[in-house]
Symmetry: D2
Subunit: 342 residues, 4 copies
């Protein structure tokens, strides 16, 4: 880190900073310029804010230099991580499509959805049994009954199951049924929950928080990895900006950025990002062109009857057409669509 002293700092102020840095085990490089003194400190960035240097007299600013995450960084592991879900591989040249309804609503709806997304080429089935809803008066999910239906759909189709876990107290139940544990956007910095999923031996799909920087997102991954679970799949799902024609602003630039900073696989959820079905197909294609390892897409047998997020769900026909185009775009990049036949 770099500590910039104010123009009024004298040697007493500088010495106080040097002493604290040395005490904390940092290596020091001192630069005395004409306008001000600048101190370079080589050591553990994660301890930087705790040092409270900015509260010391005549310290003007503290500038971080190194990334605060380690296990999630490309510097720590140069090769791309491939997360295995049974035989399926997320990352490494496969495009895996996770598709299905926003919420599990009924046996009929879910099984129909499962069959149709499988027929179109999806390899994982998505569907919420616990739903985080902005309003306490909205449908909150079928809970365990929903999880059981997901398990039944898996049995019938072979699709792997990805579903959201909302709280540590329901984690054992969700982990019992799910193949991939989804951490929702509102829980990206629910550190209690991150520490708990770290202890479970299942891959985690970590959605980016709606106002999380890429660095904070990777720090959330770091929580899970530091707790012992290295099977983290990142999921870009749109950030909150001033633009409100779309539900969120899909930050597709985050895909190559994350690939550069980290070795973890990254997928994209265009349904929540855009919020309108009409724009889901072009942004799915763009996501693969940008380098994403997969997609999370809302598909409903009958969107207009969906209990949740109907406006952003694809019809079976639209989803089928999209899957064909995805294959062609993947081909341009020497990638292949994932397959349950391995």
């Amino acid at each position: 880190m770099i500590v910039v002293m104010s123009q009024k700092a004298d040697s007493k102020h500088v010495d106080a900073v040097l002493e604290r840095l040395k005490r904390a085990g940092f290596q020091i490089h001192l630069s005395q310029g004409v306008e001000r003194t600048i101190i370079g400190a080589i050591g553990d960035k994660t301890r930087m804010r705790d040092l409270a240097l900015e509260a010391m007299p005549e310290v003007e600013s503290v500038v971080p230099i190194l990334q605060p995450y380690k296990l999630a960084s490309r510097a720590f592991k140069e090769q791309d991580t491939i997360v295995k879900v049974g035989d399926l591989e997320i990352g490494g040249g496969n495009i895996q499509v996770m598709a299905g309804p926003c919420a599990v609503e009924s046996r009929e709806q879910l099984l129909e959805a499962a069959q149709l997304v499988k027929a179109a080429g999806a390899t994982l089935l998505r569907g919420g049994a616990f739903k985080p809803r902005t309003s306490p008066y909205s449908f909150q999910g079928l809970e365990e009954a929903g999880l059981k239906l997901l398990a039944e759909a898996r049995e019938k189709t072979g699709l792997k199951i990805v579903t959201e876990v909302m709280d540590a107290s329901t984690l054992p139940m969700v982990a019992h049924y799910a193949d991939v544990l989804q951490i929702g956007t509102r829980n990206m910095q629910n550190f209690f929950l991150l520490r708990e999923v770290a202890k479970v031996n299942k891959p985690v799909l970590l959605k980016r928080g709606a106002s999380a920087t890429i660095e904070e997102w990777l720090m959330a991954a770091e929580y899970i990895m530091a707790g012992g679970n290295y099977n983290v799949i990142l999921c870009e799902r749109g950030i909150r900006t001033f633009e409100n024609f779309t539900r969120n602003t899909l930050d597709l630039g985050a895909v190559p950025v994350v690939k550069y900073l980290s070795h973890l696989p990254v997928i994209v959820d265009p349904s929540h990002a855009l919020g309108k079905w009409r724009f889901v197909a072009p942004m799915s294609l763009a996501a693969v062109a940008a380098g994403a390892d997969g997609l999370l897409i809302e598909v409903h047998p009958n969107p207009a009857e969906a209990l949740c997020d109907g406006p952003q769900s694809l019809t079976p026909e639209n989803f089928h057409a999209l899957m064909q185009q995805l294959k062609d775009v993947a081909g341009v990049f020497g990638k292949r669509m994932g397959s349950l036949e391995g």
Copy 2:
């Protein structure tokens, strides 16, 4: 809500929408303009998104008209709510200052902080025993040992205790010691936790999420109120914007807006919003001038030694000086500083 049909909609499309609205119990008003048909539907906005009207053919957009929260709204309760913490009143012409360190670090630090903020006129002691930290490698709080120190400080000073609860699993423990339960900014939409604190008979301090709209913030309050706990204190603590000289952007305009939309008391946390102690005093004074019912301020006996958020903590001297000015500003508006003597 208003449903706007596309220019291509014919009577078949319109009828389908009308039928769905009627089935859901909405009252209908039809406007057939030259350019397009517009349908007004009077009923329960909370069910709006679930209706998935935007997924129906030739529906161009759906525009909400009424607020989705009820119990939290000024329309539901015209008079200002006063939340009682023992004898202390939050709201109703009192300016209550909640002050103390970011984190409980040690017995000595906490008791010293408690005594000094009390001497300066604070009525509640803040201090985290469970700390949500961006990095898994940062100090995470003293947990129950910290809660016990807070209780000891209360005993010694008479100050009420406000402290954060991070998870449903530790809620009973925190509720045992705290006078006010703080829901942190990252948990504003942790709906599991909101439902749990709703069942506890203690006031809740609900921090605004860093990217939450005012409407979403009031919806989070609605979760707590719908669960039976009406003692909600709102806390504006800065939102995330493109400006990065300050830690967040304090949205002080939210204070009169919330007062207009809701009956709940609202306080302001300038320490987290600005992130630099230098700007805490002017923004505290501005908050009271804007109509806030109180403040949440980080004060540390020795900010440069703080284990957390030292750069934004006031020294005892600066806090004391601020309290004098706050009294004068409160006086201009016919308000008084809260007092433990009732």
Copy 3:
């Protein structure tokens, strides 16, 4: 538009609103609900804010329904607009790549750049002669000398020239040399300048403002079209958000959205959006997959020696490789790379 009256509104208040709307030529639809009265008004949205209805007693809110732009809207013209630059067509199944240095620096640099981007397949040469710089102490462009070099490069290569016009006073000079007039992001709402370029018989490349909504961007296009110049090319170049690892956040979702709302062609500038050369290629490919009609890319013979924006410029080798991949992605969508041979 929809006018929502407050719960306290009585017939006197409603009548006042009705009278004003009628006077302004609006058609009225009245809905008297249980909770409140809602007035639908069909007419010219562009006059809405001027009516100041929100300043009338007991008017709670005014909600727009129709888009405020007309000439730029898909409703006004259903078929895609193709903007012609000489024989080149922007839109209509061609992917046109506009490439070159940020700033015209010297004869040698520009001619070298022109030759290399032409060899790689670009059809337009970009290069600034007038540069908007955040600092008054930065290089501000070669002005007319730069324009002359652009004209010379055109003569030598056949490439069309796109260059920025910063002010009405220099517009005649820029229009004398340029084939396409670029309106920069900071000038998107420089309404004086928009009205002036509307009078010139040259295509206009209209960059989106860094904090402009899609609606405001289309309104800026409307200014130019209302002034008589229908040859507007929209250019998405990133919006300002809280994320600061990239220079801006590329809003690629705006591409299909604009295609849906408007008939105008839209291109993408990944260089300014990302700000780092490393991410320009993946986002260029993603832009074409999302439906863009072309790209604006910074290429410099030697980025490390560039006087401006070197960090985001592609080297000749990287640009060449990108052009090959673009061709393949365009092919998937049945599009072809633009060509100077027509």
Copy 4:
């Protein structure tokens, strides 16, 4: 500035950077850490981006340390600047209120507005003769006829005139009539215009751009000052964020921040920031408590009849009441309301 080399950098890469920095006149401090090499370079930050160091091989990032503005900085001039408008002083313990309608609409409207704001204690009259409007179909201002009415109002009341200049071509005309030249939020980075107003011997009111950082705002002031006009008044008017209940988000924290970074006076425009008259009074009071030197407030004899921005204009009665409270708040801080009697 600090140049951080990548982990793969060897001495050849480092030497190339050192050579370029030395050639550009920077002083060098080299820190060779275990993980990577860090180069401190002391010199002119304004030249930093032009050096394009980030485009050099194995340079990971370049971190600025010093502020890029000079003349506008507190380091350049320690004492507060007082801008004189005739005998009136902006800054230095005076609270100057600039009030009046959004747009000059008619002789009757303007003179009535002038008299009423003067009677309530305002010292400057605001009113637009050239109006930047989002829609080409909205009222665009009375132009020179409006300026003449402003001059007549000045003659009748003694109020100073502040009005917007939108373009260099109309600057001589506006400067002929105005006492203070307003640069609107959309023109904050219209560098042509900034350079032109720098040549005029009149104070400039520089509104912050809706998505401008504080640093960019001060850089815009630097443009004017570098051109020879030191009489710059900064005006915070709200920034664009995701919150859309208010028109913009008033960044009141910018007031103490600007006071800390710069010596220039700063005023606040709560009317445009909030966009609803109801919230203008509390935010005006908060602005003065935060340390603002004055206010820019929209007042209209009859807001419901205003041709522009009626919803955010105060009535004469509300404005009068606000002025009384402002006086009391100013008094708490030992400040006085400005007066035309000097």
